[in-house]
């Protein structure tokens, strides 16, 4: 792990504000790992209310999608998608005559009366997925096949530029802790850790001495981590907090741990305490070419063009638009792509911030090896990929790569190491 420049100063002090209601949202049917929603419960022309379920899948692992504004279903068709390129989405045109739904707070007694099965069901029906970027359906992670002893709330937010999680921790501490309480109750864990990087002193102060509602059996501890990339990557985080290593090909529950992102914990709070499905999220819209970067609460399905317009004007033409952070995020073809459940940020980079240099021959400087948090040899994997020796790439541990991007980040020859690794993974699988 290494220290990389953060650029968080653009938005870290800015309170979360609501993005203006969009006239139109495009809710993709696939915003999660697992089966894409294929049972569409509305048809073109239908009136829908905020939070109304739009589609589910006839499978075990999926997350339903919900309307994020009140209006009419305008079309159900292929639309740009930030991860898949193009995918089916339900377009809703807002109807100002229809009011936005409100989701009143439930009483504590109502919440504490819910049993674990009911809690899981509410979380599943709310369409909650891992909001740190992985988008794995949360209820599955809350149903580990064997008992776990620890839960880690991931507040590392190690990607440069992004500050949405940090702001959420500062502004919604109580709600997040209630969400953590629900998670602790479902998992029945002994230990609850809140892991925060030491570049977020304000958030750390908020979580220093809290109590968790509803989980009296759990011991709470805050873990202050060094600000290093990729501290928030699941395997690295588990090691930093518990000194446990997740073996190759295994998952966190194999070492008795479950990790959830702060935004996910907040969504769980909203689902349980307000019965509010996941149809909006907080994300950072940032970049030095934006006049007014911000942390925004955004309706799922809002085209990012609307957010860029809201945070503008642009000081310069963007050369690259990234959904997520600069290390692991995805560059976009167009500004039409909508925000989805796993969108943690929209980053605009200008011409001078984008490295457009040509790929050169590997110098064998060894930087990629020195910096790889998984202890791999990216230089050798990259060499195996360039002569299409997939067996050799597999032997070099390419399947253990977490694609954090540090190898390519530190490569002086601009080698597209991560691209090669992604290619190798698809070839091997």
């Amino acid at each position: 792990m290494i220290v990389i420049s953060e650029h968080k100063e653009l938005t870290e002090k800015l309170a979360i504000k609501d993005a203006p209601l969009p006239d139109r949202v495009f809710v993709p049917l696939s915003q999660h790992l697992g089966k894409s929603c294929n049972v569409i419960e509305v048809k073109v022309g239908d009136a829908v209310k905020t939070g109304q379920r739009l589609a589910i899948a006839d499978a075990g692992i999926f997350a339903p999608v919900h309307a994020s504004i009140s209006g009419r279903v305008e079309s159900i068709a292929e639309y740009p998608h930030p991860v898949l390129g193009k995918a089916k989405a339900i377009a809703i045109e807002r109807d100002a005559a229809l009011s936005e739904e409100t989701f009143p707070l439930k009483s504590e007694s109502e919440v504490s009366a819910l049993n674990i099965e009911e809690l899981r069901k509410i979380i599943q029906e709310a369409g909650i997925v891992g909001m740190g970027g992985a988008a794995f359906p949360t209820f599955v992670k809350l149903t580990p096949p064997k008992p776990v002893d620890s839960f880690i709330l991931n507040g590392a937010e190690c990607e440069p530029y992004l500050t949405a999680d940090a702001r959420l921790m500062i502004e919604e501490r109580d709600a997040i802790l209630k969400g953590v309480g629900i998670i602790a109750k479902i998992l029945n864990v002994k230990n609850v850790y809140v892991a925060i990087e030491d570049n977020k002193p304000e958030a750390i102060k908020k979580f220093e001495r809290p109590a968790i509602a509803g989980a009296p059996n759990s011991k709470f501890e805050i873990k202050i981590l060094k600000t290093m990339y990729p501290q928030g990557a699941e395997k690295q985080l588990i090691y930093s907090v518990l000194k446990r290593k997740v073996p190759s090909g295994k998952l966190p529950f194999d070492v008795g741990v479950v990790v959830h992102n702060v935004a996910t914990a907040f969504a769980i709070y909203e689902a349980i305490y307000k019965r509010k499905p996941l149809f909006e999220r907080v994300l950072t819209v940032t970049g030095s070419i934006l006049a007014n970067p911000a942390n925004l609460r955004v309706k799922i399905g809002t085209p990012i063009a609307k957010l860029i317009e809201f945070c503008g004007p642009l000081k310069k033409e963007p050369k690259k638009i990234i959904m997520g952070g600069p290390m692991m995020g995805l560059a976009q073809f167009s500004q039409d792509v909508p925000v989805i459940k796993s969108t943690s940020g929209v980053l605009l980079l200008g011409e001078d911030e984008v490295a457009e240099s040509e790929e050169e021959a590997c110098l064998r400087c060894g930087e990629c090896i020195k910096n790889c948090p998984m202890g791999l040899s990216p230089a050798l994997i990259s060499a195996a990929v360039s002569c299409e020796k997939w067996d050799l790439a597999k032997l070099s541990g390419v399947l253990d790569c977490i694609e954090c991007g540090l190898c390519a980040y530190s490569c002086p020859a601009n080698r597209n190491i991560v691209q090669g690794i992604k290619q190798a993974k698809t070839k091997i699988r």
């Binding site: 190759s248 050369k319 638009i321 050169e360 021959a361 110098l363 253990d400 020859a413």
Partner: protein, 313 residues
């Protein structure tokens, strides 16, 4: 606007360093040693250095043109090879000899293997080794500092057992440190070399592993198996009197021809040190730094095969 957006795989930000800037900084770090050489041996040394650089760049350009590949003379790596070659030559060699050395370095050691990043052996050292084999007389004609009279290097005197003559030179450690002795242009001024090496270490362009192991092994073995019996050698003399400092910091740290991992680099340095000592002590040459590095260059794939970082699993 949409069609102007650039799309590529993550990561989308990069460290500022690139191949050319690294090569530039290594070249920059070698400048003090060159100034030292010119100060000690006069303008003749400057002409040799310039010939080395210019001929290396011309050969690189010509061969890349002939191969029909992208011309990359601007990445400074050819300049660096030419510079290092000239630093490894005695100050009295004729200029055509320098150009021949450059040709061997660039055409045979570098481009014939596929260019930067693909060469197995350090180009400058291959050039030097070729010249040493082809024109040994020129390559052994060392000059005294501030003088045109031919004089032998301290290591050569030691090798030939001319202890009395060596004593006559009356070289103090300070003289050796400043470079007031016979030797190759770029190797003599240890002070200047250390300034450059310190810069590269501070900027983290080179790692200390190979140089440390290299210098320690040569020094220790020279001390233990010295000319005056066990533990009768001179550690400091062994380190300062030949091409060790130049070789350890600037050639045993060449990315392309040394191992990938820090542990591997340490082993590489150990091997270089051992071979250098063996050549100096029992070999046919007074100095063994360049051959030791070339021999260890050949061992690099083996080191890289067995020394892998510890996997995080």
């Amino acid at each position: 606007m949409a069609n102007k957006l650039m799309v590529s795989t993550s990561p989308h930000i990069h460290r500022r360093e690139n191949t050319a800037s690294i090569m530039r900084q290594v070249t920059f770090a070698l400048i003090p040693a060159g100034i030292g050489g010119v100060w000690i041996f006069g303008l003749r040394a400057l002409f040799i250095i310039l010939t080395g650089i210019v001929s290396a760049v011309i050969f690189e350009w010509l061969i890349q043109k002939a191969r029909g590949v992208k011309v990359t003379v601007l990445d400074t790596s050819a300049i660096l090879s030419g510079l290092l070659l000239s630093y490894n030559l005695p100050p009295a060699v004729p200029l055509w000899l320098v150009a021949v050395g450059s040709f061997v370095a660039i055409a045979i050691a570098k481009q014939a293997f596929g260019g930067l990043g693909r060469n197995i052996f350090n180009p400058a050292l291959v050039g030097r080794a070729f010249l040493l084999a082809a024109w040994p007389a020129y390559m052994a004609a060392f000059a005294k500092p501030f003088d045109v009279i031919a004089g032998a290097t301290p290591l050569a005197l030691l090798k030939e057992g001319k202890i009395a003559e060596l004593a006559q030179l009356d070289l103090s450690y300070q003289d050796l440190f400043l470079g007031l002795r016979g030797g190759c242009i770029g190797e003599v001024c240890i002070l200047a070399l250390l300034i450059g090496a310190g810069y590269l270490l501070l900027r983290r362009i080179i790692s200390y592993h190979a140089p440390l192991a290299f210098i320690l092994v040569v020094g220790l073995f020279s001390w233990v198996f010295g000319q005056d019996g066990f533990f009768g050698g001179d550690f400091i003399f062994a380190v300062l009197s030949g091409g060790l400092v130049l070789g350890a910091f600037f050639m045993a740290t060449d990315y392309v021809t040394t191992p990938l991992t820090t542990k591997g680099r340490f082993i590489f340095g150990l091997g270089c040190g051992l071979i250098t000592f063996v050549i100096r002590k029992w070999g046919g040459y007074p100095e063994g730094v360049s051959y030791s590095i070339l021999i260890m260059n050949a061992v690099v794939p083996l080191i890289d095969r067995y020394i892998r970082p510890k996997r995080f699993i």
